[in-house]
């Protein structure tokens, strides 16, 4: 195991050993190791990497270190990014929230990951660093499939930059239990009053979290942006459009029929709450 203290050192270690695996809080990796689903020879623990720490709130953007834990998100971004704070609060147990990180959640790209749908709705940019330098990947381009992130060899997620938007944010998640539960569907929604845009992120219902563009466009067109009101039936129509965007997963946790239904309900409620806020 390597424990680099700086970003350059971390990247050097990862470049030198292509089999090395970066470790955030370990809440995904250790479970996979113990279940025998993964076997890892070299772990690069990133907790001590200074460049991954901290939250900076500027006038135009909030900048989050990839090492920020769920507990850190809950405590530090509640005022600026309430949807992200709510998503963090809904993750696992207190122990898991003290360990799991923003970067780790993005990097492991689990179907049920809670950050990506929120970052989609927040229009976030993900900063990654590697041997070839630093670049920014739009949140929507980061994950190609379950466990498959668009990172080059030796690259890690370093920071997430979220443009500040005026307007309500919502996050809703449904699972089979009230806490410590893997999501069956989750929906994040941002009503961007300045840009007059509706942005929605849907997670855990499909192999990769997505933005239901057609539903967003329809909602934007139907909202009276000056009064921030809409036809009372709009949320229901919006929910139906979101659920129709693409076919949902069918697995042990929930049938496709239930997921389609749940996504519609969550999206409807998210928009209704945002319009009522």
């Amino acid at each position: 195991m390597s424990r680099p203290r700086g970003l350059a050192e971390a990247i050097d270690v990862l470049r030198a050993d292509p089999a090395a695996v970066p470790l955030g809080g370990g809440t995904d990796l250790l479970v996979a190791l113990r279940a025998g689903e993964r076997s890892v020879r070299h772990v690069v623990a990133l907790r001590r990497v200074e460049e991954l720490a901290g939250v900076t709130t500027g006038p135009d953007a909030v900048d989050l270190g990839a090492g920020l834990t769920w507990a850190g998100m809950e405590a530090q971004v509640g005022a600026t990014l309430p949807a992200l704070a709510a998503a963090a609060r809904a993750v696992g147990s207190p122990q898991a929230r003290n360990a799991g990180t923003l970067g780790g959640n993005l990097g492991s790209a689990a179907i049920t990951g809670s950050t990506l749908p929120v970052l989609l709705a927040l229009d976030a940019g993900v900063e990654v660093a590697g041997p070839a330098g630093t670049r920014t990947v739009p949140a929507g381009d980061l994950v190609r499939g379950p466990g498959d992130v668009a990172l080059h060899a030796g690259e890690i997620v370093t920071r997430v930059r979220i443009p500040r938007a005026r307007g309500p944010q919502q996050f809703l998640k449904v699972g089979q239990r009230g806490s410590v539960i893997t999501a069956v569907a989750q929906v994040a929604l941002v009503l961007d009053l300045g840009a007059r845009r509706v942005r929605c992120g849907v997670g855990a219902a499909t192999p990769v979290a997505f933005r239901p563009r057609a539903a967003e466009r329809a909602a934007e067109a139907a909202i009276d942006w000056d009064a921030v009101t809409a036809d009372p039936d709009l949320p229901r129509r919006f929910g139906a459009l979101v659920a129709a965007d693409r076919p949902p997963l069918d697995d042990l946790r929930a049938s496709a029929a239930y997921r389609r239904h749940a996504v519609a309900v969550l999206a409807e409620r998210a928009l209704a709450r945002a319009l009522a806020a």
Binding site: V31, R34, A35, G36, A86, R89, A90, F171, L172, K173, V174, G175, Q176, R177, G178, S179, V180, I181, T182, A183, V184, Q186, L252, R253, A254, S255, A257, Y258, H261, A262, V265, L266, R269, R273
Partner: protein, 801 residues
């Protein structure tokens, strides 16, 4: 010495602080110098022929000490609690996913697991038999056949009773999923080879002597050469009645000559121990217009999995108690427990009754709706009372406070309406449910269950109490093989000795097989049986003490009594400190305790098969988000028949824990199988209730002392799990109007209204027509089925199917 808790006092657990602070040594904490670690090689298939097993790749790893297979079992190749039909290792045929094929010993746990993966097993997969309804007529999976038991309970004349055209009839089909014991302390133990060629095994278990006898038979050793000691148990609930790693550990220790430890992980545990029997049930209730039950017909099909375990006794419970705690003049119950290629099912808290309780209480609600009467009134009107007869014809001679339980449960004030705390709403931290999305529902259910073993099974417990003086202070030492699995026998034994002998310092020896058996910590029996044995041993000590005093004075023993640590004469003229009487010559008594005999069931399922009965009732209040199907249990109120609360603190623990396990089955807990393979691997998908999910538990204890029971107490380990299940489901139905004929209720069942329950198929008979009101026709209790061999010793190995 401070005065310790007596019978009736709230007695905190002696091991409580250590358990809460992480210091309690569980069976997984056992270590020995030079020890090896074992790991099992398990079948990835539900059904397969074993073409070959090559241990060479495992043995080639440095640090691997042994690989054992069926060829290495020196004694009986099979084991089992009732019938030895389960192989120590599959030899030619694998009958369930996760069945052990071999076991390895290696220097470290990790190496052992790697070595287990390295053993090359060549399987030829077969089509698994996964439909219990098809098992009766399918090709036998085992030389003993596919029917563990077929049982009929016939009372009155159902057909004649049904002729009355004025009766109201309700009929439906119900299903129960596969609940796992899900104890937190996974299977683990340590076996140490002994100089006499025997073996010492420390293991977490519920029944040391049954383990010992099965292990000894397969090791080919005399039972006294196999010595078991109870190691720290992290929960049991029935899932530790059967052997798991016991025999593998002992085989490895004897082969390697070194101590061997073993510990399952959660995925292995799901396939390595018994679960509750998944059930399919068809019911038809008939009642008069004024709400008096006339008849109950039921068919109960239990999926027993690949091996018998306790399936026969579980089926008897399901059938004997199929109608619930009600007067039913006419009944016809037919039950099957069958073999499939699923992992074995066996004992689990409630032992066959949770399944039928869900069905009979759902039926009672349906009947109340059909009659247009209050469901509580319907239950009260038909509830059993002392002197009434069960479906088996047995009359209740003890207490039967069914109505008192029901009245107490519904007398609790209802909880406040939903508040503003979003975490208390359905869906909790997901924040998906708004204040306007919640509907509240209330449901009520009741149940009863037998205490102790039934059907004439031998049932006894042994205890010794030794009174000595140590440093001028009296010390009582208790020895009993009763397994402490969390139920509180360790506390109760001390309370009994303090009460009977007036001695405050009570030491409990480790439970082991150096004393006679205590029976299993199951069937809500240890307070009655081992509590009775300890009380009897105390009486023996007292008699000896009084005889000593009398002998010393040339008088008669009964002239004296033992009171608060003193021997006093009846007239009060003489007071002798007990310590003085005992002096340097300790007093010891060993006693065996039994209960009144029970009888087998006859061909019509009639007979006095049970000892005593415990009654219970639950009222559940739930908040439901009907659109998403999320359910939040707000409150469970219960009235619990207890006879007498010997340790009110432990009773509270049993009520809260049992209710949590009941609502777990109602809403969450299900081991999912796909083509026979267990798909649920971890607690990420096997969902047990968290503290947030359980809601408030409010309880009233009904204390009517049970005649014949030590201290009048009834065991309460199982009752809280029974009617909490249907009460929760009834509350969800009340909130949503959904039918919900399967547990656990899934969000999709509520949100989409589809519970996935197919019409009941009569095993070996014609398929039932679809629909609610028509149901399966054709005669109940066809005589075509033959019973399986009663006690089948498998000749020279377990053979082929």
């Amino acid at each position: 010495m401070t005065r310790g808790p007596r019978i009736g006092d709230p007695a905190p657990r002696p091991d409580g602080p250590d358990k809460v602070t992480g210091r309690f040594p569980y069976s997984s904490d056992l270590r020995a110098p030079g020890m090896l670690w074992g790991a099992a090689v398990r079948s990835p298939h539900a059904s397969a022929r074993i073409v070959g097993i090559d241990p060479a790749p495992a043995l080639a790893l440095e640090g691997v000490a042994a690989v054992l297979t069926a060829d290495d079992v020196p004694g009986r190749p099979t084991y089992g609690l009732a019938v030895a039909d389960q192989p120590a290792f599959a030899r030619d045929l694998v009958r369930h996913h996760g069945e052990a094929v071999a076991v390895v010993a290696a220097a470290t746990p990790d190496l052992a697991r790697r070595a287990a993966r390295a053993v090359a097993v060549d399987y030829a997969p077969l089509d698994p038999l996964t439909d219990p309804a098809a098992a009766v007529t399918a090709a036998p999976l085992h030389p003993n056949g596919n029917v563990f038991r077929h049982l009929i309970v016939r009372r009155g004349d159902v057909a004649a009773a049904a002729a009355d055209p004025d009766l109201v009839t309700v009929e439906d089909t119900y299903e129960v999923g596969r609940q796992d014991p899900a104890f937190l302390g996974l299977e683990s133990g340590l076996a140490v080879p002994a100089a006499d060629g025997g073996v010492d095994l420390a293991v977490s278990t519920q029944f040391l002597h049954a383990d010992r006898d099965q292990v000894a038979a397969s090791l080919g050793l005399a039972p006294e050469r196999v010595r078991l000691t109870l190691a720290g148990v992290g929960g049991a609930f029935g899932g530790r009645e059967d052997l798991t790693l016991h025999l593998h550990l002992c085989l490895l220790a004897l082969r390697t000559g070194r101590p061997v430890g073993m510990a399952y992980d959660r995925s292995e545990s799901f396939v390595g121990h018994v679960t509750r029997h998944p059930a399919r049930m068809w019911y038809r209730h008939r009642a008069t217009r004024d709400g008096t039950l006339v008849s109950v017909e039921a068919r109960v099909l239990l999926d027993g999995g690949a091996y018998q375990s306790t399936s026969a006794a579980v089926l008897a419970n399901a059938c004997c108690f199929a109608a619930g705690p009600y007067r039913v003049p006419h009944a016809l119950v037919e039950g099957w427990a069958v073999r499939t290629n699923h992992p074995p099912a066996g004992a689990l808290r409630g032992f066959g009754i949770p399944q039928v309780c869900f069905a009979h209480e759902s039926q009672m609600d349906a009947l109340a709706a059909a009659l247009g009467v209050d469901p509580v009134d319907l239950r009260r009107r038909n509830a059993l009372a002392p002197g009434d007869a069960l479906l088996t014809g047995q009359r209740i001679t003890g207490t039967a406070p069914a109505v008192a339980c029901l009245d107490a449960a519904v007398a609790h004030p209802l909880p406040a309406p939903p508040d503003d705390d979003p975490l208390r709403r359905p869906g909790g931290t997901g924040l998906a449910t708004g204040p306007g999305d919640v509907r509240r529902g209330v449901g009520v259910a009741m149940a009863f269950k037998n205490l102790m073993y039934s059907e004439g099974l031998q049932d006894l417990s042994t205890a010794s109490v030794r009174l000595a003086v140590d440093g001028g202070e009296l010390v009582a030492t208790v020895h009993c093989a009763a397994a402490e699995v969390g139920q509180g026998f360790v506390t109760l034994a001390q309370q009994i000795v303090r009460t009977e002998l007036g001695v405050d310092r009570v030491v409990l020896r480790a439970a082991d097989t150096s004393i006679g058996e205590a029976g299993s910590s199951s069937a809500s029996r240890q307070s009655w049986m081992s509590g009775g044995a300890v009380a009897a041993a105390c009486a023996g000590v007292r008699d000896e003490v009084l005889a000593r005093v009398a002998a010393g004075r040339g008088g008669r023993g009964e002239a004296f009594a033992l009171r608060d640590g003193e021997v006093v004469s009846r007239d009060g003229g003489l007071r002798l400190p007990l310590a003085e009487v005992v002096g340097a010559d300790p007093v010891e008594a060993v006693r065996v305790f039994t209960h009144a005999d029970t009888a087998p069931l006859d061909a019509d399922g009639q007979g006095d098969a049970h000892v005593a009965f415990v009654f219970t009732a639950h009222r559940a209040v739930v908040d439901v988000d009907p659109a998403l199907g999320s359910v939040q249990v707000v409150q469970i109120a219960t009235g619990q028949d207890i006879g007498r609360a010997l340790n009110p603190l432990a009773v509270t623990g049993q009520l809260e824990g049992g209710i949590a396990q009941g609502l777990g089955l109602a809403l969450l807990e299900d081991v999912v199988t796909r083509e026979g393979r267990v798909a649920t691997r971890t607690f990420q998908d096997y969902l047990v209730p968290t503290a947030l999910d359980v809601g408030d538990v409010v309880a009233t204890l009904i204390e009517e002392p049970e005649p014949g029971a030590p201290y009048g107490a009834k065991g309460v380990g199982e009752a809280p799990t029974l009617s909490s299940i249907p009460a929760v489901v009834a509350a969800v139905r009340a909130a949503t109007g959904r039918r919900l004929r399967r547990v656990p209720v899934r969000p999709a069942h509520v949100a989409l209204g589809e519970d996935g329950v197919a019409p009941f198929v009569v095993p070996g008979g014609p398929a039932a027509p679809p629909g609610v009101v028509t149901g399966p026709e054709g005669p109940l209790a066809k005589p075509a089925l033959t019973d399986p061999p009663g006690v089948a010793e498998l000749p020279g190995g377990e053979g082929g199917a």
